[in-house]
Symmetry: C2
Subunit: 279 residues, 2 copies
């Protein structure tokens, strides 16, 4: 188990939203699930009091989590999506015509059901014939796979506490590596550079013990505390900074330019890892 600051993901600011209407409130085996309506964001999905997605701006996170690893791959065919029961990442992955199979692994089936009911534009790809849904712990799914034929493993977890922790262990990272094709990539969010810099560094360090190439990019996500969101991306060799896929597709934020610009500058990355960035 990687040693995290136990307080993370504590944020030094609370975000308050107007609630026009509570559309759903229930408890699954894993968490409290709520759907509310906000005058600016439209419908918002909230798990254990943490905003997961909003109708209005979910694309920032889903596009940036998906398209960097997918564009860094010359021809992505098989993809594993772990978490992201709302279906946002699955929707983005299906934009690639080369994709033949999406293993969609979600531990909490209730999130899928709620997303189909309240967020049809997000969950739209879940019933695509290329998608195989498995309701189970993503760590178990990956541990059982032995063929290195996966082109992208994408983790769309909740905050890195509680049951999501099984996705942030050396064992899990090793299982993921064993699944990946030579050009395959692995990506996960790692919280905010403003509020959880130590966690961002620790996950980079843990990944470096397993993968020869580990890198970091960021995106501005308005509804995640600290906003300046960090993504860790790993591969067996190819750099994720390079775009190898020529796929044309509709996105609202992601573009080739954003792909390149979102990576942390090399000098700054070195200072980060040497713990020389002071804030």
């Amino acid at each position: 188990m990687i040693k995290f600051n136990e307080k993370a993901p504590y944020a030094p600011v609370e975000y308050l939203y107007d609630v026009e209407e509570i559309l759903y409130k229930g408890k699954s085996k894993f968490q409290e699930i709520m759907v509310i309506r906000n005058p600016h964001y439209g419908k918002m999905l909230i798990l254990d009091d943490v905003v997961q997605i909003t109708e209005r701006d979910e694309f920032f996170y889903h596009e940036m989590l998906t398209h960097v690893v997918m564009h860094a791959n010359p021809c992505p065919k098989k993809v594993i999506v772990i978490g992201g029961g709302d279906g946002g990442v699955v929707r983005e992955v299906l934009k690639y015509k080369t994709v033949e199979k999406v293993y969609f692994i979600e531990i909490d089936e209730e999130v899928i059901n709620i997303s189909k009911r309240f967020f049809p534009t997000v969950s739209s790809g879940i019933d695509d014939p290329r998608v195989e849904i498995n309701i189970m712990d993503g760590a178990d799914f990956v541990a059982k796979r032995k063929t290195p034929d996966i082109d992208a493993v994408i983790i769309d977890s909740t905050d890195i506490i509680g049951f999501a922790r099984s996705l942030f262990t050396n064992e899990f990272f090793t299982s993921v590596k064993n699944c990946l094709s030579d050009t395959g990539m692995f990506v996960t969010h790692t919280e905010s550079l403003h509020f959880h810099k130590d966690m961002v560094i620790e996950i980079q360090e843990a990944l470096k013990k397993v993968f020869p190439v580990v890198d970091l990019y960021t995106a501005p996500i308005a509804t995640y505390p600290g906003n300046w969101w960090a993504f860790a991306v790993s591969s067996k060799g190819p750099s994720p900074r390079e775009i190898r896929s020529k796929t044309e597709m509709k996105t609202k934020y992601y573009s080739d330019e954003i792909h390149q610009q979102s990576f942390m500058p090399r000098g700054m990355y070195e200072r980060l890892m040497q713990r020389k960035l002071e804030w």
Copy 2:
């Protein structure tokens, strides 16, 4: 007067901070001034209920507001700083050995006094002999200057409502242009790309009526709502994307790499101005 959405800078989220201690609370001629202590951020300066600076992370905003225009200038000598009574921008400007004169124009003297008392690391440059303090409306100061010898005009205003509005008019932009040297640059913040995209666009459009070169860069500011903060920068010709000053100095966030990376990619900028970015 530029036509703004009257609701801006309304933010669809409220930020809540723990208050360990209220260190100061008072009312100046212009606004309510408060200094509090927060367990994460240390001391925080709050004007009319809006967080202006925190001890811990003020450098993100002050560095990014100052060093882009200063580094884009081959030899900055004379600088006008309007607003920023806390002194943070003045401190950054004084890091350049070439700087001979800083005209520091603040409408509210109380902010300077409070900053000297509670934020000595921010206000440290205010009493430097190169600094000339003028307590007045920045628009009036600039309108009276007729010599085009200023290398940087830096606006560090509060949100673009109330008395700060005099700094966002065509008349003011024209006065600024008349002050600038041929290599001089003008910079101002323009709120958040997440929450005030229309205002960001409108200010770019208004600046384009006066300046031949207008551009946009961003920085992640955790305590400003929406976080993904936009800066408008203008010149009579030289591109602000290019670094021309060779000054070595200590910064925590700004670097040559960040300078270049902070500018909005050209294709995205075009889509923004064509109002094709949907969020």
